[in-house]
């Protein structure tokens, strides 16, 4: 007689993670195809358009990378905080704050590009970390719940931008759309190579992914961060000050999200507006979870999401499928990642007994 039993795996391993990702993505695309078919589209045609748009040629790959860059930053911001079990949902607000702080600097100083670009980069980090750090301090000093303070500040920042625009403080005279004036040419993020669309924000994103991987896994600070995240009591006995750690993590997480907002604004949009900046924070949360909070995986998942966003535009044109379907697909991918991550924790074993 033989039967099958479920048992829990102790460790999954890199191969397991890759297999899980492959299964999840395949199933997510299958489900998306079904969704497209239900909506009355030809799923093959639509998904093929998506593929061509995302990676059909070098041109579209570049576009996907440019779309991925801000997502990588918000993904890193979320994964960094979550790694310390600090439940910051503030990436959206910090993303806005980074863009706004950098824009603010362009309205008060005029410098040559060689100085202006570093200035807006720093300003982007400053904007995000001010907001993140504020939530960290509120937690450490007054024990204000991080989820609550970050969500509240998201609203405050978004409405602050709305105020700055509609009150015409940042809107160009005679402008019809609710958006700021264009940022000066000197502040634009330059392209990394000639004849490409890859601005230095993309390179910055790649470097930041690598740097965060190193910081989390190979430095004494990252060691403390991970210890703090898994066991605060033990970490405290071993010299990690929880209050200081919370503030530092929130400062860094905020700076990462702020960089994302700056990169999107000064590499792509060249203006700030609510519509341009919305959605990157929440996408970052999804990316962080799918990536299992691992920085390198965040980079890969951001690229996947960037490809979807970029390909979605092409799909809209070619197959007449609304690019809003892309948001649904992102959610479907997340769902299948969560499902497979649970499934992959178990293994099926055949048990034979002699009864």
């Amino acid at each position: 007689m033989s039967q099958y039993k479920l048992s829990k795996r102790v460790e999954i391993g890199t191969a397991g993670v890759l297999l899980q990702a492959a299964v999840a993505i395949t199933m997510a695309f299958l489900a998306s195809g079904i969704l497209l078919a239900i909506l009355g589209f030809d799923p093959w045609e639509a998904l093929d358009a998506l593929r061509i748009g995302a990676m059909g040629d070098w041109e579209s790959v570049q576009g996907s990378m440019v779309h991925a860059a801000p997502l990588a930053f918000t993904g890193l911001a979320a994964s960094f905080a979550f790694r310390a079990r600090i439940w910051s949902i503030g990436q959206e607000g910090q993303f806005f704050a980074g863009a706004m702080m950098a824009y603010f600097f362009t309205t008060i100083v005029q410098l040559p590009a060689i100085l202006m670009v570093p200035l807006v980069i720093l300003a982007g980090m400053l904007g995000g970390s001010l907001i993140g750090g504020l939530c960290g301090v509120l937690k450490s000093r007054f024990d204000v719940n991080i989820i609550v303070s970050t969500v509240m500040l998201n609203y405050i920042i978004v409405y602050l931008l709305s105020y700055l625009l509609t009150s015409r403080i940042w809107m160009a005279p005679g402008e019809y759309y609710v958006q700021s004036a264009r940022v000066p040419k000197s502040s634009h993020l330059p392209d990394m190579f000639a004849n490409t669309d890859l601005h230095i924000g993309v390179g910055l994103a790649i470097l930041t992914v690598l740097a965060m991987h190193f910081v989390v896994n190979r430095t004494t600070f990252g060691f403390g961060l991970r210890a703090f995240g898994d066991n605060q009591v033990a970490a405290r006995f071993k010299g990690i000050n929880p209050k200081r750690m919370t503030v530092i993590v929130m400062l860094i997480s905020g700076a990462l999200a702020g960089l994302g907002g700056m990169v999107q604004t000064f590499g792509v949009d060249f203006r700030v507006s609510q519509t341009f900046l919305t959605g990157y924070g929440s996408a970052g949360l999804i990316i962080a979870v799918i990536a299992g909070l691992r920085p390198l995986s965040v980079g890969l998942v951001a690229l996947l999401f960037g490809g979807l966003a970029n390909g979605g535009l092409f799909m809209q044109v070619m197959a007449d499928v609304s690019s809003a379907i892309i948001s649904a697909m992102q959610a479907i991918i997340l769902m299948f990642f969560l499902i497979t991550s649970v499934l992959f924790q178990y293994r099926i074993k055949r048990v034979t007994s002699d009864d």
Partner: protein, 516 residues
């Protein structure tokens, strides 16, 4: 003796959890009017076995006979209906209710109206019969832990149990309380009740009639208690001979290393947990802190390690004040800490063995070059620790939460013994460990004593305290009831002090000076 069938007979009982075999082919009998002790190390299958007997788990195989008839239980309700009652290690009482209400609670299908008058008479009678001293109208929260255990026992008796299963009944008792417990158990067996007791404390095991020794889910042997010695039982339980009493050589204490003066500390509930403790610990000396846990030991250790603020008083190390130094500094000063709850306060479960072996030392130049971890040296250190401390593990990359308690404790020992240079604070370092590992921990602590460390050792196990300590400080409700040289005092007296009774000077063996 008699030809009536045994009260309980178990044959071939088997219980598995997935791939883990908790009990395999277990057979034993309990006669009427006897105490059977189930003895075994952690994970030997004692708790699973008792859970099968009172209907909490359903065995996968084997048969249970009660009073000669084969039975099977769908739930503890069936077991209690037959007369099998369980007294858990962690009490399930309602603190704001009275003793009587707790005893009657959930026992009768009497509808909404509770006839306490009738029950009172019955409970009173039970207490009388077994000489249990309980104030029925006292609220349970006012009772000592020992008294709460009487309530649990009377509760089970009130339900009509003829066979009581007691899970580690003396884990929380002072020596006097446990002596009293055994007197009462004896009265019960005299009245033809039977008792199954789960224990790993050898002194208590020897008070039973029969001992069934479990090892790795099997019953190794069932023996008549009067035929065996402690040493026999230990080697049956462990599978090899074990040295029960560590050899403590006489060494003269050296200079004062750690000194605490007038320390007052509040707990998380903002109550005074430590009320003015003072003591000194010298080089080459182990100061034992005896006391039922929850009498300020944890708060004391947390304050000494710098993770809890003190209200007043000072902590001195080599004559320098270190009162408000944080944990990072205390580690740098060379103070090592072995926490009572190793997975909560000592280890990070998601970390690898190697990472935990350097937890708190990650910035030490031995393991990091500036801000960057030196993975090579960390792994070497872990590999070394695995070898030196005999940690059973697939390797330094193994996740810590997959290790057993004993192996986890060895990681902590490896780490703390490496980083500590003058002082070791050991809070219940052998709690929940197997005999073999306890022996090892004792030897390591004595080794450190020989090397000249000052060691503070808190334990509920008075045997540990007496075997290792040069001096014993007894704590009760945050106060030190007295500090004695180990040869000036005996277990009985320490037990009284642990229960809050002060000794007359005459009572101690010699005219003891309280050596603080």
């Amino acid at each position: 003796m008699s030809n009536s069938p045994p009260l309980l007979k178990v044959t071939g009982l088997t219980k598995t959890f997935g791939p883990v075999v908790a009990n395999s082919d277990v057979s034993f009998e309990v006669e009427r009017g006897e105490i059977l002790c189930l003895l075994g190390e952690n994970g030997a299958g004692k708790s699973t076995l008792s859970s099968c007997l009172y209907g909490f788990y359903r065995p996968d195989g084997g048969r249970i006979f009660y009073d000669g008839k084969e039975v099977s239980f769908a739930s503890p309700r069936d077991a209690i209906a037959l007369g099998i009652g369980m007294v858990h290690q962690h009490f399930v009482l309602v603190p704001p209710m009275t003793v009587l209400e707790n005893i009657v609670l959930g026992s009768r299908d009497s509808g909404l109206a509770l006839d306490l008058g009738e029950a009172r008479k019955e409970v009173h009678e039970l207490c009388e019969r077994y000489d249990i001293d309980l104030e029925l109208d006292t609220k349970v929260w006012q009772l000592s832990v020992g008294q709460q255990q009487w309530v649990e026992i009377v509760k089970v008796l009130f339900l009509g149990a003829e066979l009581l299963i007691l899970d580690e009944p003396t884990a929380v008792l002072t020596p006097q309380e446990s002596a009293k417990l055994f007197r009462i158990l004896r009265r019960m067996t005299d009245n033809n009740l039977s008792i199954i007791m789960i224990s790993h404390k050898l002194d208590e095991v020897l008070q039973s009639d029969h001992v069934a020794v479990l090892r790795k889910g099997n019953i190794v042997d069932t023996v008549r208690t009067s035929d065996v010695t402690k040493e026999d039982l230990t080697s049956m339980m462990v599978g090899r001979p074990v040295m029960l009493q560590a050899e403590r050589e006489e060494i003269d204490p050296g200079e004062t290393i750690l000194e605490v003066t007038g320390l007052r500390i509040r707990n998380d509930k903002d109550q005074q947990a430590v009320k003015g403790m003072s003591f000194k610990v010298h080089a080459h000396e182990i100061l034992g802190i005896a006391g039922v846990s929850g009498n300020g030991q944890n708060e004391l250790f947390e304050a000494l390690m710098g993770v809890r603020d003190t209200d007043s008083g000072q902590i001195w190390l080599y004559g320098d004040e270190v009162t408000h130094h944080g944990p990072e500094q205390m580690i740098k000063h060379g103070v090592g800490y072995i926490p009572d709850d190793r997975f909560k306060a000592g280890l990070v479960g998601e970390f690898s063995l190697a990472e935990n072996a350097i937890l708190g030392l990650q910035s030490n130049p031995s393991f990091a070059d500036g801000p960057v971890l030196n993975t090579r040296r960390i792994l070497d250190f872990a590999q070394d620790a695995i070898q030196k401390f005999g940690i059973v593990t697939p390797g330094p990359h193994a996740r810590t939460d997959t290790l057993s308690g004993g192996n986890a404790q060895k990681i902590i020992l490896a780490r703390e013994f490496w980083s500590a240079t003058c002082c070791i604070l050991a809070n219940q370092p052998t709690r929940g460990l197997d005999v073999g590992v306890i022996e090892y921990v004792h030897q390591m602590l004595l080794e450190k004593r020989r090397e000249g460390f000052a060691i503070v050792l808190a334990s509920e196990e008075l045997e540990d305290i007496f075997a290792l300590s040069d001096r014993i400080a007894v704590v009760f409700k945050g106060e030190i009831m007295g500090v004695f040289r180990t040869d000036e005092i005996d277990i009985e007296q320490v037990g009284l002090l642990m229960a809050g009774q002060r000794l007359d000077a005459k009572e101690t063996k010699q005219d003891a000076h309280v050596t603080i």
